[in-house]
Symmetry: C2
Subunit: 358 residues, 2 copies
């Protein structure tokens, strides 16, 4: 465990409801985590009155002037080259330079990925970053990655994502040996892409730094069959958004059902407590904290439309990753992975690896 | 519209609850559709007593002896070569030979795909078959394909799937110009695979035989943004199963919530009618009828674990596809697609086609 304060660089101007949500989220977080302090990047004239309004917050926050902000419409390449004085760039730079331990932003996702990769660089042994987040399942919470940072992934990328997700789940869910699954299709005759089979073969080897469950199917995500779901960014993004869309659809169906009759409305009133519990269980703010894994540093992406509590959760994720030394554990895991993948290939491994979802 | 009776070849021995579910499903369907008659393939000694038990069914059914059955564990290649006398093979053969108009089976999916492709062949202009099904959405129902018949698809396959799905939705949902979307990822910087961009460029051309909406994201499926969702079989399978898993998860969450307190239980009782309505709306049996599109004939795959009513729905899908001349409409659509895709390429098309989900 890291000693001393955790210093968080916050992009004060990123997100739909910035800077209010950023300041208020920091205020909630510093009460929750007294071991944190904040560098808040943005326009001081806007930020200072907001900070001063929250009692006790000013002592935990240092405002750092940034002349501009990345907008939601900025292309990543534009933001990377032309927004060097933005609150997002300067916050990432602070984390890269060691002035802060981690950066949190609710701004433009693509820009944040480009800028944080450029400023922080990749961690030794990691070739591509992956966007990871939590999902609710019937057994608790599951980590899923990559959610869209890389459309096409090779077997190396997928195996590295498995290690990143596993370390992430160890640190944030407190699991000793999180079960890791590779997302695939289930029919016997459809054995998955080559890169999935190769990654699975590596992860099955003795000494692999993850507790590898094997292939899983889409329906296994919600069932909580594994603690970490690994996919390429295209598949992961489609799965995540399909899940979000279905959650919304079913919530709507239930609401509609309770509006159909007077009896149903009375039932709804009796069950009000149950609804509150249900909403808490699937509260999207609790799952607010996408993280770019694989960078040489910790960068947390909050949803652009989040509220105060959601931003505070994102800060909590960043703080825990620093406090429980995610980075060092990942360096170690990736080194172990490299030992395993560089061992001589056994030709039967990959061929035999395809039956996992039969 | 096709005149005369619709003759359905039924795989009497396929599925977890065969032959009972097949016979009972046929009995429900022949009452619902008096214009249907059935060739029932399987073991006569088993089937005849079941048919005779349902009053009036024997007159609509001809039992055809089949010496064996494809098992759930048979590999597709094995079933294709070694189960030539199975109820599944003979039913597909009957549809291919013109003795029946269509085939319905609740048996082994991979085996059914292999056998139906071999027996019926592909339709002129279609290169690969696609597995299609319906999903409930907030605006009604959406067709999704391919759900797993082809792991890797090129632009031609995707464009053909768009036409297949469009004709399918026209026939079964009664829509004049169903909106068709290609499933992609949404972030601006991630523009989707080349084959998606090429397929989109073709479908946007003048004269294309579909009402092309553009790219959609996973969450647009449940929102009912389009009537037809097109994806390669890997992506479609993952999306479908993620949706199914989430639906199950949320149903469980709601059930749990209503068990937490006495008040909630009372509310549940008051709301019983609402629950019945909700369950009806998302009744999986109503979405029972995966269809292999692109074959020169109609082959409907019922879920293996379906019940009588579910199997009757699958029969209804097969009957409607024959009655409303799905095959001829698809031949016409594919011919129009070929005219459009064979027109000279405009180089700017594909490059400019990537902004659809921005």
């Amino acid at each position: 465990m890291k000693a001393g304060k955790v210093v968080l660089a916050l992009d004060g101007m990123g997100g739909d409801h910035a800077p209010g949500v950023v300041v208020n989220g920091a205020d909630i977080a510093r009460v929750r985590y007294p071991d944190t302090s904040y560098l808040l990047f943005g326009d001081p004239a806007t930020l200072k009155p907001l900070v001063d309004r929250r009692k006790g917050l000013a002592a935990a926050v240092e405002i750092v002037a940034a002349a501009e902000a990345v907008s939601a419409d900025d292309k990543p390449s534009f933001a990377l080259r032309r927004r060097r004085q933005s609150s997002m760039w300067l916050a990432c730079q602070a984390a890269a330079d060691g002035n802060a331990d981690t950066v949190v932003s609710a701004g433009n996702t693509g820009a944040l990925l480009a800028i944080s990769m450029f400023a922080m660089r990749m961690l030794e042994g990691a070739h591509r970053p992956a966007l990871a987040s939590f999902l609710p399942t019937s057994r608790g919470e599951t980590v899923m990655l990559d959610l869209g940072a890389n459309l096409e992934c090779d077997a190396d990328n997928l195996a590295e994502f498995a290690v990143m997700g596993s370390v992430f789940a160890q640190v944030l869910l407190g699991l000793d040996a999180p079960k890791v699954g590779l997302l695939n299709v289930g029919s016997e005759e459809l054995k998955g892409h080559d890169e999935l089979r190769q990654a699975a073969a590596w992860l099955r080897r003795d000494g692999a730094p993850v507790n590898f469950h094997g292939f899983i199917e889409g329906n296994d995500i919600g069932a909580g069959v594994v603690d970490v779901v690994v996919a390429d960014g295209f598949t992961g993004n489609v799965a995540l958004k399909s899940i979000e869309g279905t959650a919304k659809l079913y919530t709507g169906f239930v609401r509609d059902a309770f509006r159909t009759s007077t009896f149903a409305k009375i039932g709804y009133l009796f069950a009000a407590g149950a609804w509150v519990k249900l909403r808490k269980r699937v509260d999207p703010r609790r799952y607010n904290g996408g993280v770019f894994l694989g960078l040489d540093g910790v960068c947390v992406k909050s949803h652009g439309g989040t509220d105060d509590l959601g931003f505070a959760y994102a800060i909590g994720v960043a703080r825990d990753l620093v406090r429980y030394e995610y980075r060092n554990k990942l360096v170690e895991g990736l080194a172990r992975l490299r030992q395993v993948t560089s061992a001589p290939e056994k030709p039967e491994e990959v061929v035999g690896a395809s039956g996992g979802t039969a």
